[in-house]
């Protein structure tokens, strides 16, 4: 009898759990159905990563106090947000606002899950590169908060003066007598187009040309132009069969280790590697990236910000929160404090630059930076770009210019 009782209780429990599971699935589906009717809910949902959640809590509390609208912060892994947003917004279960990077825009707009945000007259209060980055086909799709770009990190004990050109940098690096004249993290197979891009632009070879609305034009692939070919030749000359400055066996971790150990005066990297160098007690300066091809060496800028769901039922409240709270100097400065990335709002940017020479250094390089293309066609570029650069640096695969032209043709074919 006892056994039977227990087993029946177990059935009950299992059945209840399974029913709850079903009900859970169904309950989730319910939100999209009736949230349109519950207009007085007065709550906006924001997807945010752990770092930023703490800062936004204060802004959210202030917003709730002033407007009566609750702000629900949902923590997500930053890397997962884009795909989950694309998948969940159409089901009605997505958030009203999510944190993200500007280069997601192409995918988000193509999938119709983001809505334009009207910054109104406050658009002029942001750094130009941030607004450019968050614009897509002439519309601004979010509120930017931080700009991130690479710069040339210099160990001032080894080399006291900023280099004026790439050749000057190598000469200074060799004169310093360290093991490496210059460090940049590369991958054995895929090199690193992101870090090598400023050298490429210094030869006058951007990836895409710009269209009439100021955005990148996928129909105008520039990477294979004469400048690109010159860059390919230069890459080979710096690679394994040439000067050997660029070494694909030194990945990002090894490059950081060597720089921190004082084995090189120069390290081409972003703000994320500064803490390690500072902890090691190095005296640092951030210099503009020296030009290899004569023209300005423009790195990519990545701009982070918050975007608005196209299916949001709380557009007014969400827009108000975005423009007037996330776009405020307090929040932007607070986000800078936790993330260390240069703020996008000019007033917060100036405050940050005034207080920290390293930030000022990256900010100065960032003024020359170009937004990383956010058009979906960029995906086709990445998959050929790095492998070709790797092959050229390693001296494998033959003539660098031929390899470069082949790459441009492959990208063109993939885009079409």
């Amino acid at each position: 009898m006892k056994v039977n009782k227990r087993s029946i209780a177990a059935f009950g429990a299992i059945a209840a759990v399974s029913a709850l599971t079903l009900a859970g699935c169904a309950g989730g589906g319910a939100d999209n159905g009736d949230s349109g009717d519950q207009e007085s809910a007065g709550e906006i949902t924001v997807w945010v990563d752990a770092d930023r959640a703490s800062v936004l809590e204060d802004a959210a509390a202030a917003f709730t106090e002033e407007t009566g609208v609750d702000v629900k912060l949902v923590q997500k892994e930053f890397g997962d947000i884009r795909d989950q947003f694309v998948q969940q917004v159409p089901t009605g279960e997505g958030p009203d606002i999510a944190v993200g990077a500007h280069d997601w825009l192409g995918v988000l707009v193509t999938n119709g899950v983001v809505a334009p945000v009207e910054l109104g007259d406050s658009a002029g209060d942001y750094e130009q590169v941030a607004i450019d980055a968050w614009s897509y086909e002439g519309q601004v799709y979010g509120v930017p908060y931080a700009i991130e770009n690479i710069g040339l990190l210099r160990n001032t004990d080894l080399v006291p003066e900023a280099p004026t050109s790439y050749d000057d940098m190598i000469a200074k690096g060799q004169a310093a007598g360290t093991e490496y004249a210059f460090l940049v993290g590369l991958d054995p197979e895929a090199a690193d187009p992101y870090h090598l891009y400023p050298f490429q632009t210094s030869f006058g070879a951007p990836v895409f040309g710009t269209g009439s609305d100021g955005g990148y034009d996928p129909a105008d692939l520039q990477i294979g132009n004469e400048g690109g070919q010159a860059f390919a030749t230069w890459l080979a000359s710096q690679g394994a069969t040439g000067a050997g400055v660029l070494n694909t066996n030194i990945n990002g971790d090894l490059a950081r280790e060597n720089f921190v150990a004082g084995k090189s005066p120069f390290f081409l990297t972003g703000p994320w590697n500064v803490p390690a160098a500072e902890e090691a007690g190095l005296n640092l300066a951030v210099d503009p990236i020296p030009s290899a091809g004569g023209q300005a060496a423009q790195p990519f800028a990545g701009v982070q910000g918050f975007f608005l769901s196209a299916e949001s039922d709380n557009k007014l409240a969400a827009t108000d929160f975005l423009v007037n709270y996330i776009g405020s100097e307090e929040v932007q400065s607070a986000l800078y404090e936790v993330g260390g990335r240069t703020p996008a709002l000019t007033s917060a940017y100036e405050a940050a630059v005034a207080s920290d020479p390293i930030t000022a250094g990256f900010g100065a390089v960032g003024a020359d930076a170009v937004p990383m293309p956010s058009i979906p066609e960029m995906g086709a570029v990445w998959q050929f770009w790095g492998v070709t650069e790797g092959a050229i640096i390693n001296g494998a695969g033959g003539d660098p210019v031929e390899l470069w032209n082949k790459m441009a043709a492959d990208i063109q074919a993939e885009i079409e």
């Binding site: 029946i8 059945a15 029913a19 079903l22 319910a30 159905g33 998948q87 197979e189 007014l316 070709t388």
Partner: protein, 539 residues
Amino acid sequence: MTTPTIDRETAAETIKSKRSRRAAKIAEAAGAGWKLLLFKVVALGIIDALALYAALVLFQSEQLIPAILLLAITGIANWVYFSRGNLPAKYLIPGLIFLLVFQIFVAGYTAYIAFTNYGTGHNSSKESAVNALMLSAQERVPDSPAYDVTIVEQLGEFSFLVTDPDGEIELGGVERPLQPVDNAEIEDGKAVSVPGYNTLRFADVVANQNVIAEMAVPLSDDPNDGALRTPDGSRAYVYLSNLEYDEAAGTMTDTRTGTVYTDIGTGAFTAPNGAELRPGWQINVGFDNFVRAFTEESIRAPFLAVLVWTFVFAFLSVFTCFALGLFLAIVFNDPRMKSKKYYRVIMILPYAFPGFLSALVWAGMMNQEFGFLNVVLFGGADIPWLTNEWLAKFSIILVNLWLGFPYMFLICTGALQSIPDDVQEAARVDGASAWQIFRNIKLPLLFVAVAPLLIASFAYNFNNFSLIYMLTGGGPRDVAADVNVGATDILITMVYKVAFVGSTADYGLASAFSIIIFLLVATISVIAFRRTKALEELN
């Protein structure tokens, strides 16, 4: 074998009827107690209430099929637990429900996606696509000023009370272009109320934000002047739309160029010249994805090479791991071996690390210039472990051997220990050599036990995505090749690249590929299991 067959059947029947009688007795005893009945009623009542609520919610959101399914399942569950018989079903139903939710639904959904164009740009329903297109088509007229706006209400209808930058005060609604008013009350240079209308507080604005966000108040009778819209309820801007949606005809018209985009059944509004408006929406495309898997140049070209390597990789992985595992198991099973325990612990260590982490560590150790292998073991040699096509393949097998042999070692040890010693002794008495005992007695007995595991291991390695992805990323790639597929890519990593890494995600194609891979693995497994059955009968 002396007993006639008929007798055996009767005997079996007697046992069976005895059993079912006993079961029925137990069930009756269980059902008889009023406490249990009460418990049953309450438990099922809760479940039914939840299911009913869920079904109502589903009906409300117009998801008819899931709602009907839910009700049907609940009905069946009720019938099973309240009827007197159906004892097996009482045990099976919870498991069946889990199977349905977590296995069959997932597999069925994958199959469903394989027949759609779900992917970047075809992400949602036509309705959301139209909504998104209309949203992004609303563009603020360049350099147009910002208007202060107060939302006012009269007889349930909202209006904008607008203070333009010059201080003019106007009132307008969706159907009524802006008209000047002169008796508005002004605060800080902004009109805040007007007689005859209620001014909305921010909370009221938020409560009605759907309606207000949709409002477009025409500036004048001429629609080309644009309309005022407010994104935040306190400021309004002049917007013009680039697109016009004709719901009856199902067409989108670009107001700047006059191009008409029509729904031609491809899941996107398409212009006569073939240009598509993005986003589009999800539609059923039949067998298109399967056809593409075999005909699209970028997929077909590397398909054969990848398929061959997938088989080679899966076979060699199983073979090498099994060979080493078996060898070690035999060695450690020998009674003459000392301190076996400690060796065994060391043997199993690689099994205890997460596989993808080990793969990453190995990738570091195989660095051509700074890796542990070249620097320490090969005295500074320059061996391109991961960047040479053949060495990379070798490295993959090697790392997988390191990762996989402990498992084979464990199961072989278990299987070996389950082989009775007297069988071997008998063979020895008959004068068989050690090799003969192994070859003719131990190995066949071992195979009976481990063959299913070998097949499972083959199926696992056939789809061993994490190892390939973490160790070589499918590379090295031939730069001369037109497609993004490397020397060590197996089917699943190729699918990943084709479906996700290119310019856009294509879930439909990826699902189709998953089904193709499933069919391959299933076919191989079925054949292999048939063979092992034959093996069992041999013994």
